[in-house]
């Protein structure tokens, strides 16, 4: 493993925090390199890493796709992609260092010969670039193609890190990890068998965001939050992941899956796990994984799913001042589709810390704005010595972790309105993580690609977490299979059923 090797390097001193951790010489092999993810995120992230001096001297990017390209065409495409989407300022000399290190292997996933060529290309790097077998394989491809590619990697021996030359072999897979518990189990089994479980990196890009990592700091490095982070003080928790866009060009994939499989199963449940987990024994992958898994396995759905598992589908409406069409009018969506574009669910966590505290999760498309946040809503003060009419406009205290776009933390509490009376009103106090730090805050993909190359799994969910998450979503899907989603006007905060879900207990959604 990379981390151990770094420790044996006499020039690396853990106390010397100026020396960035740089991966060993390695290759990054991207399948589906002509896709949007590669162009908009992966290649720009590689440029940004190079710009920050975080890539090893020998680093080669190998593209694999069904295009009749040579290395030069691939390099040119990468140059355009990096220029258009890189976060850090463009510098020709940074590119000059990457230039010449692009290789392209054309082929389809069922083409044995193409994979033999790929194998040979990776092997040659030993001679030409001094890369002793280290390679990460990034699956930026439709999930349907996973098994075929995995089998090819197994057949050619590319997935084996104990081959004669040594070096590590890792695989990076993007969501969705299956479409239910059973298919995820199959997929996980296959990928863990072809590679070994520690070499499999499942990307959930939300975990690469600075604010999400900051939740660990907020909760476990401070004295003032953790004591009230439980059912004695917390009334309920709302996790919102809203998008203002529609399904875009993902019609085929989306209609087969829907909001719950696309977003709730991974991003939202991971946010929940981090917000609700117990303190890990150490900030290392294994300890964090154990605590996250405990929370995910303690999740219980409400018995009355009709009232607590709400689905919606966007209809015509206006978003951000423009008219947009409903889901059923989108290209390639069947007229009778019952796929949801909005899901709101109430769950409970069965442990002592969270007993009786409802967690309300919601995600949807074509909502008024793009926002992701975790709102911890506290109970009312046990007794207030003020008259009712003075505290009329006072709500519950809130602590809101704003994940995106305006990263930061907001605390909402009551305060006296200046004047002679004792009138109280809510005010909010904000900490803007992004306000002044944005420019240097790395993109999630930068962080995650670097971690893959370093072999650090702290921010990657493992197969058991995926399984535990499907165990939450499967019963929902089963119940929903017999229902139709409630339409909601595009540009509004979702179907009325979701509002009723909270109103029945005297609560309301926070306007995110």
């Amino acid at each position: 493993m990379g981390v151990e090797n770094l420790n044996s390097n006499p020039l690396r001193d853990p106390a010397d925090r100026r020396l960035p951790r740089i991966p060993e010489p390695c290759a990054l092999v991207i399948f589906g390199v002509t896709g949007d993810l590669a162009k908009k995120k992966l290649i720009p992230a590689i440029y940004d890493l190079a710009n920050r001096g975080l890539l090893p001297a020998s680093f080669v990017i190998v593209g694999f796709a069904r295009r009749d390209w040579g290395d030069e065409t691939f390099e040119e495409m990468s140059l355009q992609a990096a220029k258009a989407h890189a976060r850090t300022p463009w510098r020709d000399e940074v590119w000059a260092r990457l230039a010449g290190n692009f290789k392209f292997v054309p082929g389809t996933f069922d083409d044995d010969e193409a994979f033999d060529r790929l194998d040979a290309t990776v092997d040659e790097l030993r001679e030409t670039h001094g890369i002793v077998g280290n390679a990460a394989f990034y699956f930026s491809i439709p999930p349907l193609a996973f098994p075929t590619v995995l089998k090819q990697l197994q057949r050619t021996g590319m997935s084996d890190n104990r081959q004669d030359g040594g070096g590590w072999r890792r695989v990076v897979v993007e969501k969705p990890f299956g479409e239910d518990r059973e298919s995820a189990h199959e997929l996980n089994g296959l990928v863990d068998k072809v590679f070994t479980a520690p070499d499999v990196f499942r990307i959930d890009h939300y975990l690469g965001k600075e604010t999400v990592q900051n939740i660990f700091a907020l909760r476990f490095a401070n004295a003032m939050f953790e004591p009230i982070w439980n059912s004695n003080y917390v009334d309920h928790v709302q996790i919102t992941m809203a998008e203002d866009v529609g399904i875009g060009s993902r019609a085929g994939f989306y209609d087969d899956n829907g909001a719950a499989r696309d977003v709730l199963q991974n991003h939202v449940l991971q946010l929940l796990a981090i917000a609700a987990m117990e303190q890990p024994n150490g900030f290392v992958a294994e300890e964090i994984r154990i605590e996250k898994l405990k929370v995910l396995r303690a999740i219980k759905l409400h018995d009355d799913l009709e009232a607590t598992a709400i689905r919606g589908q966007y209809a015509d409406g206006w978003v951000q001042g423009r008219p947009v069409q409903g889901y059923l009018a989108e290209d390639n969506i069947p007229q009778n589709s019952t796929t949801e574009t909005y899901a709101a669910v109430q769950i409970g966590i069965q442990n002592r810390r969270w007993n009786g505290v409802p967690f309300y999760l919601r995600t949807g498309k074509r909502l008024p704005k793009r926002v992701t946040e975790i709102a911890v809503v506290f109970k009312e003060a046990p007794h207030m010595p003020f008259a009712d009419y003075d505290t009329k406009t006072l709500g519950n205290n809130q602590l809101v972790i704003r994940v995106q776009p305006d990263e930061g933390i907001t605390v909402k509490f009551g305060s006296k309105v200046p004047g002679t009376g004792m009138e109280l009103r809510d005010i909010s106090m904000g900490f803007g993580y992004g306000e002044t730090f944005t420019e240097s805050s790395p993109e999630a993909y930068e962080r995650l690609i670097l971690d893959v190359l370093l072999g650090d799994k702290t921010l990657f969910p493992d197969a058991q977490e995926v399984d535990a998450s499907w165990a939450v979503v499967d019963p929902l899907e089963e119940y929903w299979a017999t229902t139709k989603p409630e339409p909601y006007e595009s540009g509004t905060w979702g179907p009325t059923g979701a509002d009723l879900m909270l109103q029945s207990s005297g609560r309301r959604w926070r306007r995110a």
Binding site: L11, D13, R18, I22, G53, A57, T128, H129
Partner: protein, 314 residues
């Protein structure tokens, strides 16, 4: 906002007023107190505005002006979010005895209970301000390459080291060190000898030698070489070469245009680019670490132990 012949109380009132106008309540990460001259002011301001993008701070820039004047006088300029970027900035011009009582002026201006970093480009000894600046700082940043005798100045820093000291000459070899360290990933053999081709007047070259000495247990040979630099804030190092116990060699060489070549026995030549950073970028790196830099202390100790040059008294 310009304030003539003013007091710290009026300066703070002016700052509060400006903060109130822009909506107030910025979240500060630290106080940066910089000592400079009118000639260097623009350079320091530019660096400060770059670093402020990463570290929201209150900048207090002290410029000793007419030290011979009989009466103390403070002129101040207070800005928020103007040419100094996102920093809250107070620029002080100090006449006469005011210059010698810097702490009484600066202390009331510091943001409450957040770290204080002092930074000076000029030689504080000349203004008799070194102790003043040391007294309230959690971290002190110097730039010994700017002194009249750079290496002797670094030696003085080593002799008077206090927890929290650091020097831009150390900051500016981070990229070099990182390159060398990554070349050593996977190397299993012990190092027999090290040759550094560098301008031996450059404190950064001395620190590079001391670092390698500390970590590898081998005293490098520093061969005095004239080094062409295409940026002021680059270390004057041309190459670092290692000979391993088995006789194999490894060399990192930087050409004047920034092309850096890594030659390692048995492996193809590898090229990288290593450019100088701006003073602002170096300052930003420095401000990222507010806790004492123990790795630097060890290196500075090695440097001090093997220093053979002239000793300059304060």
């Amino acid at each position: 906002m310009h304030l003539k012949d003013t007091t710290t109380g009026d300066i703070m009132k002016a700052l509060d007023g400006l903060l109130h106008e822009v909506g107030g309540g910025s979240s500060l990460a630290l106080n940066l107190v910089a000592l400079t001259t009118e000639d260097e002011r623009e350079e320091v301001e530019k660096a400060a505005s770059v670093a402020a993008q990463e570290h929201p701070y209150r900048l207090i820039l002290a410029i000793p002006r007419d030290l011979e004047a009989a009466e103390p006088r403070i002129d101040a300029e207070v800005t928020v979010g103007e040419r100094l970027g996102s920093a809250e900035a107070i620029i002080l011009r100090l006449d006469g005895p005011a210059g010698a009582h810097l702490s009484s002026i600066v202390l009331p201006m510091l943001g409450s209970d957040i770290p204080v970093v002092t930074w000076w480009l000029l030689d504080p000894v000349r203004y008799g301000l070194e102790q003043e600046l040391r007294s309230f700082a959690d971290r002190r940043i110097t730039y010994s390459a700017r002194a009249a005798d750079p290496v002797a100045s670094l030696f003085r820093r080593a002799e008077t080291y206090a927890t929290g000291d650091t020097d831009i000459c150390w900051t500016r070899i981070s990229l070099w060190r990182s390159l060398i360290a990554s070349a050593f990933d996977g190397v299993t053999q012990a190092v027999e000898s090290i040759t550094i081709k560098a301008d031996d007047d450059d404190p950064s070259a001395q620190l590079m030698a001391a670092w390698l000495h500390t970590r590898l247990g081998v005293a490098p040979d520093v061969v005095d070489t004239e080094v062409e630099r295409n940026s002021e804030h680059l270390p004057a190092i041309a190459s670092v070469a290692f000979t391993m116990a088995g006789g194999e060699t490894m060399e990192v060489e930087r050409k004047a245009d920034g092309t850096t070549v890594l030659r390692q026995a048995g492996l193809p030549k590898r090229r990288q680019t290593l450019q100088g950073r701006t003073l602002g970028q170096l300052l930003a790196e420095e401000l990222r670490h507010i806790d004492p830099d123990t790795a630097y202390k060890k290196v500075l100790d090695t440097f001090q132990e093997h220093y053979t040059g002239e000793r300059v008294d304060a």
